[in-house]
């Protein structure tokens, strides 16, 4: 991409720059490498062997323990996380897309006002909402249910903001007009024409919302007491607090951490280009 005649001094700075970046890469990889090594060790070796060197390879035993301890509740936590984060982000993306599309393509009174309310919502810290939501939900008996975490999670003002930008950029007005002239209703136009054009952007919105829910620890912690409703993060946090009394659970915390982040890391790396389009759109407008 960038071409430049190489000057003699360039070699020194090239080496320095590569060295710096390698040190940083090492820093980012260190905890993950440690986690992989630790997940393969028997519990007794965690403290007695070097944490960066493999000892007895017992990954399968550790995974077996992970999925059988507490009647195999970890599998339930995975399922719950999928419901909260994957299903929640999917529903959230759909409603953000509808709303953002309408704000971009329809003209009506109060449009800019609604949009600025949503923009204000982007700046509201989500943890500030968790405690009042808990009080409201306890009045309507929603605390300690799937809905307590799922329903607030589907709302993403940032998703609407992105959807509006993407709808403006990706859906030409002429296409909507011609679909209208063909007699298609607004919903049909949206789902058959605009949705397809917006789909790369919708992947980006989905990813952002997935991360938001996957990362939001405070809300489930405030809302849930039943272990059978926990997402992975809350479950591992609870186990981690028990390691002082029951040290064996430590190996399950480690194996559970590894099992839950590896698939997400792989998906994120495969979908890198969607992040970059989203981040560029979010920052320049």
């Amino acid at each position: 991409m960038n071409r430049q005649p190489s000057l003699p001094q360039n070699r020194v700075s090239r080496t320095a720059v590569m060295a710096l970046m390698f040190v940083l890469a090492l820093y980012f990889l260190l905890p993950l490498y440690f986690l992989i090594v630790a997940a393969t060790k028997p519990q007794g070796d965690l403290a007695s062997t070097n944490g960066l060197v493999f000892s007895d390879f017992q990954l399968m035993d550790n995974l077996h323990t992970l999925f059988t301890v507490n009647d195999g509740i970890f599998a339930r936590w995975i399922l719950n996380t999928v419901v909260y984060a994957v299903l929640g982000a999917a529903v959230g993306t759909l409603i953000s897309a509808l709303c953002g599309y309408a704000l971009a393509k329809f003209r009506f009174r109060g449009r800019e006002f609604l949009f600025s309310v949503i923009l204000g919502g982007v700046l509201v810290p989500s943890t500030a909402l968790a405690l009042p939501l808990f009080l409201l939900f306890s009045k309507v008996q929603l605390v300690n249910t799937y809905f307590a975490v799922f329903l607030p999670s589907i709302v993403s003002p940032f998703g609407v903001y992105l959807a509006r930008i993407f709808a403006n950029a990706a859906v030409p007005q002429e296409l909507i007009e011609s679909a209208r002239l063909d007699g298609a209703g607004e919903f049909r136009t949206f789902f058959s024409v605009s949705f397809k054009l917006m789909s790369p952007a919708l992947v980006t919105i989905f990813l952002f919302q997935f991360v938001g829910i996957w990362n939001n620890f405070f809300l489930p912690m405030v809302m849930l007491q039943k272990e059978s409703l926990f997402p992975i993060t809350l479950g591992l946090f609870t186990w981690n607090g028990q390691t002082a009394r029951t040290p064996v659970i430590q190996e399950s915390v480690i194996a559970g951490s590894l099992v839950s982040i590896v698939p997400v890391i792989i998906v994120f790396i495969l979908l890198q280009r969607f992040w970059r389009t989203g981040l560029a759109a979010g920052s320049l407008k």
């Binding site: 700075s13 905890p31 070097n50 409603i95 919502g121 890198q272």
Partner: protein
């Protein structure tokens, strides 16, 4: 100019309602409810054993928040955290983004990916991973440092805040780097050609041309980092499980939670409102300050 058509009100409502209904119920109503609660007080009639009732208390809860030493201590901690961690993280992210955008670097994909990877890890799990690296019994890092004669205590009273800051830095540097990098990638290359003809080197181009152009992205990452810092919860909550140097009121959010657990919901609501107001003021203040400086 953008055109747009005017479908019927029913159609527009059908598009907007699926988002706005939950937005109102789970965003606006809780904000209103927290505000309302924060102006209430629980009083007792007839002494300590009398029946309790809720009454309007004006700013009483807020006065209590501002007279609470624990509140100011928690603000002081995240203030220190923010003043150090946010610049360190964003400066690292900016340098990485500039290097990834420069001709000096090879295997860029590898560096970009390793830096971004922590973004896939939830804060709780990142904190658990790092807490093992901080633990004197388990940490290979401490073993290595012991070998060269250093004996750090990552969980000690002076260090534990910075151990939490390191977890946030690890988590978010790559994300911020990618925002800045995406902005850099959208600068037209011709701009650099022109500067090169004028004799500008890589260094000059980076700091005099690239950085000013991506200033809006840097402002945005700063605002998001301020919001994140004020919400700090996961990292200290995990470190609290292995360090006695983190109290249950270590950050404002931890304070709000522990007050709520103590059933003082009105006080917890007031703390939540104060955190949200501080967040707003700092975010907007920073945006205003930087846009004025840029002469906009």
């Amino acid at each position: 100019m953008r055109r747009g058509h005017r479908p019927g009100a029913g159609t527009i409502a059908a598009f907007l309602t699926p988002f706005f209904l939950p937005f109102v119920l789970f965003y606006l109503v809780p904000i209103g409810y927290a505000l309302w609660q924060s102006f209430l007080v629980v009083r007792r009639s007839g002494g300590q054993y009398g029946t309790s009732y809720t009454a309007f208390g004006g700013f009483e809860q807020y006065v209590q928040v501002f007279q609470n030493d624990e509140f100011w201590a928690s603000i002081g901690r995240i203030g220190m955290f923010g003043i150090v961690q946010v610049p360190v993280m964003l400066f690292t992210a900016l340098v990485m983004a500039l290097l990834l955008d420069s001709p000096l670097l090879k295997i860029k994909g590898f560096f970009r990916t390793t830096a971004f990877m922590p973004y896939a890890v939830p804060g709780i799990i990142a904190a658990i991973m790092w807490s093992y690296l901080y633990s004197p019994q388990l940490s290979p890092v401490i073993d290595l440092l012991n070998d060269i004669g250093l004996h750090p205590d990552f969980l000690g009273p002076g260090a534990v805040l910075w151990s939490a800051a390191n977890i946030s830095t690890w988590l978010w540097t790559g994300y911020n780097m990618l925002i800045m990098f995406s902005a850099l990638q959208s600068i037209p290359q011709e701009l650099y050609e022109a500067a090169r003809i004028d004799g500008a080197g890589n260094w000059t181009i980076a700091w005099r041309i690239k950085v000013p152009i991506i200033a809006p992205s840097i402002v945005m990452t700063t605002v998001f980092s301020i919001i994140g810092t004020l919400q700090l919860y996961s990292e200290p909550a995990v470190l609290r499980q292995i360090s006695s140097n983190i109290s249950s009121t270590y950050t404002p959010n931890m304070l709000a939670y522990s007050v709520a657990v103590g059933n003082n919901y009105q006080q917890a609501a007031a703390i939540s409102v104060v955190i949200a107001v501080i967040t707003f003021v700092l975010s907007f203040g920073f945006m205003r300050l930087t846009s004025k400086k840029a002469g906009l």
